[in-house]
């Protein structure tokens, strides 16, 4: 072992090549991505809140007339349950409960995600049929800027889940696969958190 007693500036010692923890690096990149995504949601929330004025309603429907709690509550239930089931999938990985358990929980999560999207689509169709279209007022533009943006993210998450399930079926629980599931989990919980914001600000705030 070559021990340098008084190192000057820099020393060239082999064997310390960057054998980094790739998973930690990728994960921190994903955290940063979500932080910038959070800014996007934050700005959409801010826009929405500034559009809650009579001028922005422009004589069109107001939140009070538009939102119904039962629909939003069902969507919330579906999404919050899906985040729980994703947690179960993560636990199944952590405690080595086998591939089938993991895939089962991910499938349940996927199903709940689809249920959420279906409920949301139903709500939007209902709104559009009532004439509450984004072109009607600034407020509705802001609504259709914020809530479907979350829905689009959930759709991306659903597609990711499908790809993940195919990959798991093909390769099993390898290192890269479980690292990807960890990131997907982060993403999925993040969307849940955003939904809590939407439920509180848009739906509860609108009805109150």
């Amino acid at each position: 072992m070559n021990i340098v007693v008084r190192p000057h500036g820099l020393t060239w010692v082999a064997g310390h090549d960057h054998d980094h923890d790739r998973i930690a690096t990728t994960l921190s990149g994903f955290w940063l991505f979500m932080m910038s995504d959070l800014i996007i949601f934050g700005l959409m929330f801010a826009t929405y809140v500034t559009m809650l004025t009579p001028e922005s309603f422009a004589g069109g429907p107001t939140p009070k007339e538009l939102f119904e709690l039962p629909g939003a509550a069902m969507e919330t239930a579906a999404l919050l349950t899906s985040t729980f089931t994703f947690g179960m999938a993560s636990l199944a990985i952590k405690y080595d409960r086998g591939l089938s358990k993991v895939m089962l929980w991910l499938l349940v999560t996927l199903a709940l995600g689809v249920v959420f999207l279906a409920l949301e689509a139903r709500e939007f169709t209902y709104m559009l049929a009532e004439g509450a279209v984004p072109q009607r007022s600034g407020f509705l533009s802001a609504f259709f800027g914020l809530v479907p943006l979350h829905g689009t993210h959930v759709t991306a998450g659903v597609i990711w889940l499908v790809i993940m399930l195919i990959e798991l079926n093909r390769t099993g629980l390898t290192g890269p696969a479980s690292s990807r599931i960890a990131r997907l989990a982060l993403f999925w919980h993040f969307l849940d958190l955003i939904w809590v914001g939407i439920f509180s600000v848009v739906y509860l705030g609108g009805i109150a």
Partner: protein
């Protein structure tokens, strides 16, 4: 063919929108200039293609550059893009100066053409010149300065470049087909709403900045992670070179400041394409939301542009003064303080839009606060030079011009930060003078300094000094002559973006500014000549030792040009300015005790696919060719998913023996090369090995 079928394929594109034919339809100076510019793009592209074919360069360009994930090559490609766009953007500035010099009661351009000029000029200079340039330098330098093999996400790096290129391509295409926005670089609604500006102009702007903005966000993420995770052992945060610190701060700003731009641009797109009412006048839109969103990006953007250059000046001033950087820790604190404060001042961009005086006062004071850390930096640079052995090399000339001119611009900034003063001069050329005064010395000169400083590191030979001085002289004189008169006419009341004016008192000032534009043109020519002469004489200025400036940071401890794997083994860092300390101890060139195999990521098509189909996506969206937009989007999405599933299929392993052989061969050559003192730095005897006498002193 029926009209319906045509519009299905070509959308709203028709013969009328082909700019290069306009001169034939409506002969006249204005349209001749318009079509002439379009023909320059067409002929330029054709000549480039012909030259590449003639010299059989398509193959090497494809395999060595376009599909490469090597951070140094990606950096070079960014800078090539930036320099091409610089030529276009600067020449647009020259045309505008010519128009205003001739603008008393008229001039030669139509108002609409002039409006397109200032819109593309601003958009290009910010998004497609300055940002690619600084991203390129960060790409080249940061991994080397922190002792890393590569960036954390090499494929993502290529993707970011592809997105930036596609944005730039859209702006270039707008010169040939259709109009660009006339709404300025900030594209304020409601003026950019379809009611006021139908046609494709604002759509070109929207998609160009959206694509490039996404690329920049991803770049930011990549470099924050790279700097956090890939530093060599021993390189604590407070041992990072100052350029890397500035790059870190810039990258953080990219992550947090680009999303507001994306949001604002896409909301504007929703208004224009889908009839939303985010920013419209009628039906509840609120254009102040746009101003707020845009400047939450726009103000931090100023520091995205300027911080990398601050970092470059730090490196340059300390290197060419032969001294360690004075007040390193205060510089770091000042950098981060500027980054933090930059998010708190956006409202000063619309002091006059009707918020109450208290709000204006708060933002005015916040704005002035940024002068404090910036002042700290200027004093630190001055103290670094104090009692140094200063060499007036080209980068140093830029740095000195910067220090004088930037402080002047800062002072006018303090004036503008005062809301009552701002009410008087807002929307005049005073403001135009101010921000050019910050961005040309602050950003552009820094980028040129960095270009000159790191050129030998990338290409293995130095740039020609003589032509470097001529270019720097022309840039500095050109800048002063072009923009100082604008302060005067601004105070006299000439509004910005004015195609013509009626007050004869403006004319002499604008003639002087026009002369400045001639100097700037000469500067561009000098830079081209410099590049040509340098390449011609490259055998004489070879940088064999890799350390032509007797520099202080880690990137100079490697051969020039740097091999793909950067370092034969990852160095251990024991001090700030580790390389300078090692040289002081006579240990500038060390042989590693042992070597190990190096793994490098493989090439990827993702960058090229994104550049080509990103451009196609933009064209499809701009011209309502929906089939093209969907197709291009699908191709990009499928390739990204495929890459994610398949992973890196061609990773490269370089055996330890080969690295050892190459590194030893290099050390042999270096030992055979005569070291030079700093007095011979510009001489042909300088082959990149520094004499020990100076380094000894420097290390202390």
């Amino acid at each position: 063919m029926s009209h319906g079928f045509c519009s299905l394929i070509f959308g709203r594109l028709d013969v009328e929108s082909l700019d290069f034919l306009k001169a034939f339809f409506h002969p006249g100076l204005n349209d001749i200039i318009l079509s002439g510019a379009a023909w320059v793009v067409i002929v330029g592209a054709a000549v480039t293609a012909a030259l590449l074919t003639w010299f059989r360069l398509w193959g090497p360009m494809w395999s060595k550059w376009l599909i490469s994930v090597d951070h140094k090559r990606i950096g070079v490609m960014y800078i090539v893009l930036a320099l091409i766009m610089l030529v276009r953007g600067a020449l647009e500035g020259v045309v505008m100066r010519a128009q205003q010099a001739d603008g008393l009661h008229g001039g030669f351009l139509s108002a609409d053409h002039f409006a397109q000029l200032f819109s593309t000029h601003g958009t290009i200079m910010i998004f497609f010149m300055a940002m690619p340039f600084l991203t390129g330098l960060i790409n080249i330098v940061v991994p080397l300065q922190i002792g890393a093999r590569d960036v954390s996400f090499p494929m993502l790096n290529s993707l970011s470049l592809g997105l930036t290129v596609s944005g730039a391509m859209l702006v270039m295409i707008s010169l040939v087909i259709g109009d660009f926005s006339t709404g300025g670089w900030s594209a304020y609604p409601p003026y950019t709403e379809p009611n006021f500006q139908p046609g494709v102009g604002p759509d070109y702007w929207i998609w160009a900045v959206t694509l490039a903005g996404l690329g920049s966000t991803l770049t930011g993420i990549n470099f924050v992670v790279t700097i956090f995770k890939e530093r060599a052992p021993g390189m604590s945060f407070l041992r990072m070179p100052i350029f890397t610190w500035n790059a870190l701060c810039t990258s953080l700003l990219l992550v947090f400041a680009m999303p507001p731009l994306t949001v604002a641009a896409l909301m504007l797109a929703a208004d224009r394409y889908l009839g939303f009412h985010f920013f419209t006048n009628a039906l509840g839109g609120n254009m102040m939301n746009y101003a707020n969103l845009f400047w939450q990006f726009g103000h931090p953007e100023v520091y995205i542009l300027v911080l990398p250059s601050f970092g470059i000046y730090g490196e340059v001033i300390s290197t060419y003064s032969g001294k360690r950087l004075y007040g390193y820790v205060t510089l770091v604190i000042a950098t981060m303080a500027i980054g933090f404060l930059s998010f708190g001042v956006w409202l000063h961009h619309f002091f006059t839009m009707g918020q109450d005086a208290d709000v204006n006062a708060v933002f005015g004071i916040a704005t002035m606060l940024i002068g404090i850390p910036t002042g700290v930096k200027v004093y630190d640079w001055m103290a670094t030079m104090f009692r140094g052995r200063i060499r007036f090399s080209v980068p140093m000339v830029y740095a000195l011009a910067f220090m004088v001119l930037f402080v002047l611009g800062g002072l006018t900034g303090i004036l503008l930060a005062n809301p009552p003063v701002d009410f008087q001069v807002h929307n005049t050329l005073f403001l135009v003078a101010h921000f050019h005064n910050m961005l040309i010395p602050g950003t552009l000169f820094g980028l040129f300094a960095g270009y000159t400083y790191w050129f030998p590191k990338v290409f293995g030979f130095r740039l020609n000094d003589r032509w470097g001085y001529i270019a720097a002289f022309n840039w500095i004189v050109g800048f002063v002559l072009s923009f100082m008169p604008l302060y005067a006419v601004g105070l006299m009341g000439l509004t910005r973006r004015a195609v013509s004016y009626t007050n004869p008192a403006f004319e002499p000032w604008l003639h002087v500014a026009g002369v400045g534009a001639i100097f700037i043109t000469a500067a561009l020519v000098s830079m081209c000549v410099q590049l040509y002469v340098s390449i011609r004489d490259r055998e004489l200025t070879r940088d064999i030792g890799g350390d032509p400036w007797d520099a202080r940071t880690l990137e100079w401890a490697t051969p020039s040009p740097v091999p793909a794997y950067n370092f034969p083994v990852i160095p251990h860092i024991h001090a700030l300015e580790a390389f300078a300390v090692a040289k002081g101890a006579g240990l500038g060139y060390q042989e590693p005790v042992s070597y190990s195999d190096i793994h490098l990521p493989g090439d990827t098509y993702i960058g090229v696919i994104t550049a080509v189909f990103g451009t196609a996506l933009g064209v499809g969206l701009v011209w309502y060719m929906w089939w093209l937009a969907w197709l291009a989007f699908a191709v990009i999405a499928v390739s990204l998913i495929a890459r994610a599933v398949l992973g890196d299929r061609h990773p490269v392993t370089i055996p330890a023996a080969e690295i050892k052989r190459k590194y030893r061969a290099w050390l042999e050559v270096v030992r055979a090369t005569a070291p030079v003192t700093r007095a011979l730095e510009w001489d042909y005897r300088n082959h990149g090995v520094a004499a020990a006498e100076y380094t000894k002193e420097a290390a202390e």
